[in-house]
């Protein structure tokens, strides 16, 4: 990929890039398919059930069947919905979810764009999704989806702040916004150790960004039925679900890179295991953590959620920045 980027644009390089993107899309779709399967299985085990086990061996084709059902379904739209916006919303939600993956370095060599401001790119693009959500809530012309959409907007915007703030500590330590640089800086010790406070804030804020338990208010089933996508069915609904799980993929990759040392082994002696395996291991750990939380936690209330972001997480993130700054200036002999 590195050389490709340097070469002059020709038909072959463009084709190569397109092929690369398709491969990544397939990997992501494969991940989503089996993340959903795995989620249902794990939660099933935690809840004394067996989970999907009918379609295919061990139920492995369950998600495939579900997606096929969604795709074959009639595409319904409420009569008084805003046609154009209703159609646009799922795309608006999904496109940035996939686009953020462009900057994720899976290993030293396996990555697409190597942006100098990788982390900023990720955060900026992922902020667009909230537009899709709020558009969906508005365009559906349904009161439940409107409330769901507004809740989502408030939640995603509020939690983006502590999310970004919690990463500042790492950026201070690394001196770079480039995701590869951040991984290289963790050769000796992973960021989770010196940046533990930041890690906690990040994990919680990420949970809210992903709209997952205990912050799954936008889709609070028991209150809002399904939140912003209450009127969506078939393929458009699949797009929203896909966006959600692709974000989980992205967030898992980001946590791995920022805090868990990316593709680096846990100890140099274990170097013989390929870096991509290390990446997948750490990434899976995070994804499992997500499912675990979902089986454990009740849901917060909207106002509690807001005050938790602004009065709880944000000050913590700021304290983290302070401590990191003091530590760095002490280390470099400025104090």
């Amino acid at each position: 990929m590195e050389q490709l980027l340097q070469q002059s644009t020709s038909l072959s390089t463009v084709m190569m890039f397109a092929a690369g993107a398709v491969v990544l899309l397939l990997i992501v779709l494969g991940f989503v398919t089996y993340a959903i399967y795995f989620e249902r299985k794990v939660i099933g085990w935690m809840q004394l059930r067996v989970g999907p086990n009918r379609v295919g061996p061990l139920g492995l084709l369950q998600t495939v069947a579900d997606v096929a059902k969604l795709l074959l379904k009639e595409d319904t739209r409420p009569k008084h919905a805003d046609k154009a916006l209703f159609a646009l919303a799922p795309v608006l939600a999904y496109a940035p979810a996939f686009a953020v993956l462009a900057v994720i370095p899976f290993t030293d060599t396996l990555h697409f764009a190597d942006l100098g401001v990788g982390i900023l790119y990720y955060i900026a693009l992922s902020g667009i999704t909230v537009l899709g959500v709020i558009t969906a809530g508005w365009a559906s012309n349904n009161k439940y989806s409107l409330i769901g959409g507004l809740r989502s907007a408030a939640q995603m915007i509020s939690y983006e702040v502590p999310l970004v703030m919690s990463v500042v500590g790492i950026i201070l330590m690394t001196g770079s916004l480039n995701l590869k640089e951040i991984v290289y800086a963790q050769q000796d010790v992973w960021n989770i150790v010196p940046q533990f406070l930041g890690f906690i804030v990040f994990i919680i804020a990420a949970q809210a960004e992903l709209n997952r338990t205990p912050f799954d208010l936008p889709e609070a089933e028991s209150e809002l039925v399904a939140g912003y996508h209450v009127e969506y069915s078939g393929f458009r609904f699949a797009m929203f679900m896909l966006a959600e799980y692709v974000y989980m993929f992205g967030m898992g990759a980001l946590v791995t890179i920022l805090f868990l040392g990316g593709w680096l082994p846990i100890h140099p002696a274990l170097d013989f295991i390929p870096p991509v395996v290390w990446f997948i291991l750490k990434f899976s750990l995070y994804v499992f953590f997500q499912f675990w939380l979902r089986a454990t936690m009740p849901r917060l209330r909207a106002d509690q959620l807001m005050s938790f972001a602004w009065k709880g997480l944000l000050p913590l993130a700021l304290v983290n920045i302070m401590l990191t700054a003091i530590f760095i200036s002490y280390q470099s002999g400025m104090m």
């Binding site: 009161k143 028991s222 209150e223 809002l224 039925v225």
Partner: protein
Amino acid sequence: MQMRTEPTALSTTISPDTGIRTEEMLLNVGPQHPSTHGVFRLIVKIDGETITEANPVIGYLHRGTEKLAEDLNYTQIIPYTDRLDYVSAMTNNYVLCHAVETMMGLEIPERAEFLRLIAMELNRIASHLVWWGTYLLDIGAMSPFLYAFRDREMILDLFNELCGARMTFNYMRIGGVKWDAPPGWIDKVKEFVQYMKKQLPSYHNLVTGNEIFINRLKGIGKFDAQTALDYSLSGVMLRCTGIRWDLRKDEPYCIYDRFDFDVPVATEGDCMARYLLRMAEIEQSLRILEQALEQFPSEGEIMGKVPRVIRPPVGETFVRIEAPRGEIGVYIASQGKDKPWRLKFRRPSFNNLQILPELLKGENIANMVAILGSIDIVLGEVDA
């Protein structure tokens, strides 16, 4: 007070600072909504996410049980009571039989009384477990529901062995019970009681201490003792305000006066108090069960001496007992025939639900679910 289902007009306000016009919104919750626990409809007027007015609409499950009963023999009414509060059918069975027995002055054999008491207390535990699971589902936690239903399943299996049904038992008869306990059944119940005693602490560990859970319930849906009395609330809805009133203690029926148990009471009057009370009641039910199973007579009749055709004497009577949801009562007016001239149920869910509009005023939508859930209604009983 005038009955009203249509909400008052929506108000609009124009903010003096920004000039933005805001309008209240009508939100139709139910009759098909995941958190209304059946076909209950609630028309709420909301200002943002704050409820300014709530109008419950009931009757979607109305089957006219009371009217139907006028054309049925007393024994034939029993299966209809199963379908009132279908989560706790044993207590409903009992209250009808108890009313007729009171009118006729029937003697109930010892063994039958024990079987009735054991069935009712097991059903109370099953009912509270269903409440516990579904309430946490409302709050957003999924797993407790499945844990609760696993344990409830054991109770249902026990009932299945006892009377062949899992929910609509039709177990009790005027003068006794229909079926004797099968061999070994009492030991199975003993095992279950021991098992349940071990499970309860782990449920408290899983849920009760959870910070999010506590924040969702503490101080929510609060009312005081006077309000509770004004609305004629009963059961946990009454005891959460500090009034110690449990018919099992205060007007003992069946053989409750023989056992040693406490009536848990809280003074906070909020959702958390109601949650803790229901959990404590499971413990007390287990205590009663333990004693009852020890004293269970090894043999005896299960049906008393009952005339072939049941004709209560002319007159009327009202009896009430403590069901899991509160006081369930039956009023029977008899003209000496084999069918009641008039029969009326006092359904605790119906009475307890009346306070909902007052509790919801000024609350957040998310609290709406927590408050409605904490009342613990069963629509079969609300609509009768």
